[in-house]
Amino acid sequence: MTSLRRILTGLLWIGPWLIGFALFTLVPLTAAGVLAFCQFDGLRRPIFTGLENARVLWSDPLFWKVLSNTATYAAVALPLGAILALALAVLLNARIPGRTLWRALIFLPTLTPLVASAMIWMWMFNGRYGLINQALGVLGVEGPNWLSDPRWTMPSMVLLSLWSVGHAVVIYLAGLQDVPRSLYEAAHVDGAGAMARLWHITLPMVSPAIFFNVVVGIIFVWQVFAVPQIMIPGGGPGRNAYFYTMYLYDVAFRYQRFGYACLLSGVQLGIILLLTVLAFRLSRRLVHYRGVGG
């Protein structure tokens, strides 16, 4: 096979993907970049308006509101999810009875469709009949109206985000099982306690997995959409659970301000990129790869 023929064969095989990528990613991405500087309602010709959309964005109180809500959600849900997932993975890595069953149970919620999860949790959070308030009632605590009290809508969403830590747990488990037993034995001989072993061996050794989960987590939490959209349309009272992607969806498809929506999506992409780059920078100091450097 000549090299030209090899190239052509290769192109032929990846052709469907290339065409799909160009049509459904590259072209829309480029168009969105241009339309971000236009007034465009989808039906009439776009009108170039320069930085008008940016001016509107700067003075749009709802933009700042959803940005603040999403940042708060990300700042709480991401570390909380990472800590819980890691703790569960450490537990599930230990020799506990029914370990396989526990692992399956922890992973199971991630298989539940988002809409089904949202519907179930709407009843879990129900102020009167919800299981959470029933459980709190047993403890003598009167639970709040989770989804209609503006103080509790955001905590409800954060709590709910912990429901699907199963994916992260599986990745941590794989990382934990890759930690050489000899390191723990050596530490044990040196008199290191459980916490010291966790801090000096486990965490550094699974840091690549933590890093992976953090990067994926950043991308996901900044795009949180379906569950709050179903459970608390409009973000509830005070719009405290109105997130960035919900606003973006409304601006584009309900208000047909596609130009402004393109700018909003560009800003979202920028934020996620920035945070991801930041995570990569930090990873140079905090993530340890075996056989690479120190």
Binding site: Q39, G42, R128, N145, Y255, Q256
Partner: protein, 493 residues
């Protein structure tokens, strides 16, 4: 080796062809029953269930009669999120020939030139301000042109449980309320509600007389409270939307105080305990609410879920007792770029101008509304053959809604299954009938207003301040929409 690799490559290729062929053969398609010699009119509509079935039967009637003679076949396609999908399809130059939208879409779509004007067609068919009830006709117009045709209209009313009223007649009388009639003013509504509300031994609210509520529960029409106090959404002279005027402040203060009198947290907890509205556990059906603000379709829900309830229908209470009405409707539009606009209009015209018809249900068992109706007689009720109605009236009849025509068919109101249809009809004809304002960005304005309402209902803000803050935001949205329209050389609204 090359031979084996070649075989593997062909196998993979063939494996990829299978889903592609499957998509072509089994993917989305039309109903496939269109006769080959007919022009197919694609009709997107939002209705499913019994409402969808009725429209499907009506379409079949057209296809079997006028459609057959004119060579037209209407293909009824149920479409969720119909407004967004119609818009996207129109952008993509693949619009349906006919679409059933909501009335607030008319101004929004028309302002973007997404709809075909229907003035000439409608005038030729006699669909005009003289033949269609004004509040519904005006809602189909934008900038003086007609862009839609009313399909199934409605007006809001108070549905009240007469049984509960009777049960608490003595208490109502002691409080100066008359158990034999519903409340007429907002003050009376609050008074009746206080008497009819019940708590459990642990202090939880078991029943409320009425609940303003949020749109996800029973407060579907949360936007009307300013109207009940004599306010108006829109001042046509100045082109301004106002939600912070005194009537609005009074209306929403009533809502706020209503929640406070029963305890804000208790009311919210009660509200969160209410089951899905469109279900047998609807709070009105199971006696947890004695009164609700609803449209004529609610009578059909009662028929389905709790036919034993003795209920009445009345104009919704207002501040001074005058019968103000809030009206809406489903509308038909022909989007820009529709390939068979003439044929689509032939169907619309038939809905309005056809001789009265009857529609068979096509099922083995006779069904009310298709084969028969229940006539009220001095001795009770009697089963009679369904009278002929004009197609659009028949659709309203079977949807339990009032009709759009100034002069309805003689049997329309007389045989109508909704006991409150006269009330809905009178309200729609009233000079005090109100609708959503014809502004292109109403959806966005409404979202801002709804956020204010949610805060007020949750007891989060001072009513006046919250409405003023909302007004500031609405002013900014209106200014922006105005400037957007000006860039295209058009005026707002």
């Amino acid at each position: 080796m090359t031979g084996v690799r070649g075989i593997i490559q062909w196998l993979i290729g063939a494996a990829m062809l299978v889903p592609a062929l499957g998509l072509v053969l089994l993917g989305p398609s039309s109903s496939g029953t269109a006769p080959p010699d007919r022009v197919v009119v694609t009709y997107w509509e939002k209705w499913t269930d019994f409402e969808g079935e009725a429209m499907r039967r009506l379409v079949a009637k057209f296809n079997d009669t006028v459609g057959r003679n004119k060579g037209i076949y209407v293909d009824y396609v149920v479409t969720t999120q119909i407004d967004i999908k119609t818009l996207i399809a129109t952008v993509a130059a693949d619009a349906p020939d006919l679409a059933g939208l909501w009335p607030h879409n008319v101004s929004s779509f028309a302002a973007k030139a997404a709809l075909q004007p229907l003035d000439a067609r409608a005038e030729a068919a006699g669909i005009n301000a003289d033949t269609v009830i004004p509040v519904y006709y005006e809602q189909c117009r934008y900038h003086g042109s007609l862009y839609a045709v009313p399909l199934t209209p409605w007006s809001l009313a108070l549905y009240y449980n007469k049984g509960l009223f009777r049960e608490h007649a003595a208490e109502l009388a002691a409080a100066g309320c008359d158990a034999d009639r519903p409340p007429r003013t907002l003050a009376e509504l609050a008074a009746y509600s206080r008497i009819l509300h019940r708590r459990s031994p642990t202090g939880e609210i078991e029943r409320l007389g009425f609940l303003p509520g949020i749109p996800e529960t029973v407060g579907w029409y949360w936007l009307t409270w300013g109207l009940w106090c004599g306010g108006s959404f829109f001042d046509p002279a100045s082109g301004t939307i106002r939600v912070d005027s005194e009537p609005y402040v009074r209306g929403y203060e009533w809502v706020r105080n209503y929640a406070l009198q029963f305890g804000q947290a208790d009311v919210l907890r009660f509200e969160s305990s209410l089951a899905n509205f469109n279900s047998p556990d609807n709070p009105f059906m199971i006696g947890r609410l004695a009164m609700v603000q609803q449209g004529p379709w609610f009578a059909n829900m009662i028929r389905q879920y709790a036919p034993e309830i003795d209920y009445g229908v009345a104009p919704f209470p207002t501040e001074d007792g005058s019968p103000i009405a809030y009206c809406g409707q489903d509308v038909l539009v022909i989007p820009r770029g529709a390939r068979h606009a003439d044929e689509a209009w032939a169907f619309v015209e038939w809905l309005y101008t056809s001789e009265p018809i009857t529609v068979p249900s096509g099922r083995p068992e006779p069904e009310p509304g298709y084969e028969y109706y229940w006539a009220k007689t001095p001795s009770g009720r009697e089963r009679r053959p369904m009278p002929p109605l004009r197609p659009v009236e028949w659709l309203c009849w079977i949807h339990y809604k009032n009709g759009p025509l100034v002069r309805p068919s003689p049997d329309f109101l007389a045989t109508h299954p909704n006991p409150g249809v006269q009330i809905h009809d009178q309200l729609a004809r009233s000079p005090l009938a109100r609708t959503e304002p014809p502004v292109p960005n109403w959806t966005e304005v409404l979202e801002e207003f709804m956020a204010a309402y949610r805060d007020i209902w949750a007891g989060r803000s001072d009513v006046r301040q919250r409405l003023q803050k909302c007004q500031g935001r609405i002013d900014a949205l209106v200014a922006q929409a105005r400037s957007n329209q000006q860039r295209y050389g058009e005026v707002y609204p």
